[in-house]
């Protein structure tokens, strides 16, 4: 989607390594080495490879191949809201 690509500010782009602490807080596990897959283009890779935007009101993670939004995380004082509809799966080792 053109507008999706146009609203990306590459100057503010990090990668999901920068939010590894938030992931660990949510899942109780190291997640940046966890495999995931993009709903939009099917690219597979580790969570750490996702493009991260942390200056928004929430955290936005995009696919490094097609830049589709994969995961959004919002934190309130009492809860995390996780919208992962752009990811086919997240694999957590047991």
């Amino acid at each position: 989607m053109e507008e999706t690509i146009n609203d990306m500010n590459r100057q503010l782009m990090l990668d999901a390594n920068a939010v590894a602490g938030v992931f660990q807080e949510i899942f109780g596990a190291e997640m940046t080495a966890a495999p995931t897959e993009c709903v939009h283009c099917g690219a597979e890779g580790e969570v750490g490879t996702l493009l991260a935007f942390t200056q928004a009101p929430g955290i936005v993670l995009r696919c490094p191949s097609c830049e589709n939004v994969m995961i959004r995380i919002t934190q309130t004082p009492n809860a995390f809201y996780i919208d992962a509809r752009g990811a086919v799966y997240l694999r957590l080792a047991r």
Binding site: Q11, L14, D15, N17, A20, G21, G28, G48, Q55
Partner: protein
């Protein structure tokens, strides 16, 4: 691996200037656990009114050092956390941290492959942890660091890198200075490009494991070049440092 991540109160054991804008903070940790080279700690500041600011800083030290870690932090203009650490924090102060964090941008010293490290600016910090760890465990697989800085005085760890390079354990270090070079400078004097990367990787006979850390543009350009030169993308791990004021950097 299930691993709860709790905040703990570290005390600042030592603060050392590295360059005009970069300092290393040695933190003593009550709940220290050995890190993996490449991991980071989150640092959290809380104001009296409850406002919190949190940033991630890479660990510079090797995991063999028990009970403490070095975080090397660049002072970012208007950076809420880095400016506080540089301007306010003194030895003996306490600071809230959690870690070690991260499992993607980490190097396993048992890995048999040669190591290719590419850094821009303070992106050298997690790579330094890898090189210190490599030296501590006596790993002698070929390793190369290509390190881009603006000027000679901006190079972090210059003397230690010279020492590590000189100790005959298979490490070579290449500097490039993109803005200003001292007289008689023998290193590179331009941004990292195809020709430079080709020269740096050429003597490596096996496909190396690659770690690239720095500003987004440097990371993307170096990674894309290496893929063009035939390296499998799966061998390349990247970590982007934000520009002024962003999460990892501020």
């Amino acid at each position: 691996m299930r691993q709860p991540l709790d905040w703990q109160i570290a005390s600042v054991k030592e603060i050392r200037p590295e360059t005009a804008k970069v300092k290393t903070f040695t933190l003593s940790l009550p709940n220290w656990t050995a890190h993996l080279a490449g991991q980071h700690y989150d640092v959290r500041l809380t104001a009296e009114d409850g406002y919190q600011a949190q940033r991630s800083y890479s660990i510079a030290s090797e995991p063999e050092r028990q009970g403490e870690v070095d975080l090397t932090v660049e002072r970012i203009e208007d950076g809420e956390v880095s400016a506080y650490m540089h301007d306010v924090l003194t030895e003996g102060d306490r600071i809230e941290v959690r870690g070690p964090i991260g499992g993607y941008f980490v190097w396993d010293s048992e890995s048999p492959e040669p190591l290719l490290l590419i850094a821009g600016g303070s992106g050298v910090v997690p790579l330094m942890s890898m090189l210190r760890h490599r030296a501590a465990v006596g790993n002698t697989n070929p390793a190369r660091l290509l390190y881009s800085s603006r000027a000679f005085d901006d190079i972090i760890y210059y003397d230690e890198l010279e020492k590590l390079r000189g100790n005959g354990h298979g490490l070579d270090v290449f500097h490039t200075l993109t803005r200003k070079q001292p007289e008689g400078w023998k290193g590179y004097s331009r941004r990292i490009d195809d020709a430079m990367l080709k020269e740096v990787i050429k003597p490596l006979r096996q496909v190396p494991q690659v770690f690239i850390c720095g500003p987004t543009l440097l990371v993307e350009s170096a990674a894309n070049t290496l893929v063009r030169l035939g390296l499998p993308p799966a061998q390349i791990r990247t970590e982007r440092f934000g520009p002024s004021g962003t999460s990892t950097g501020g």
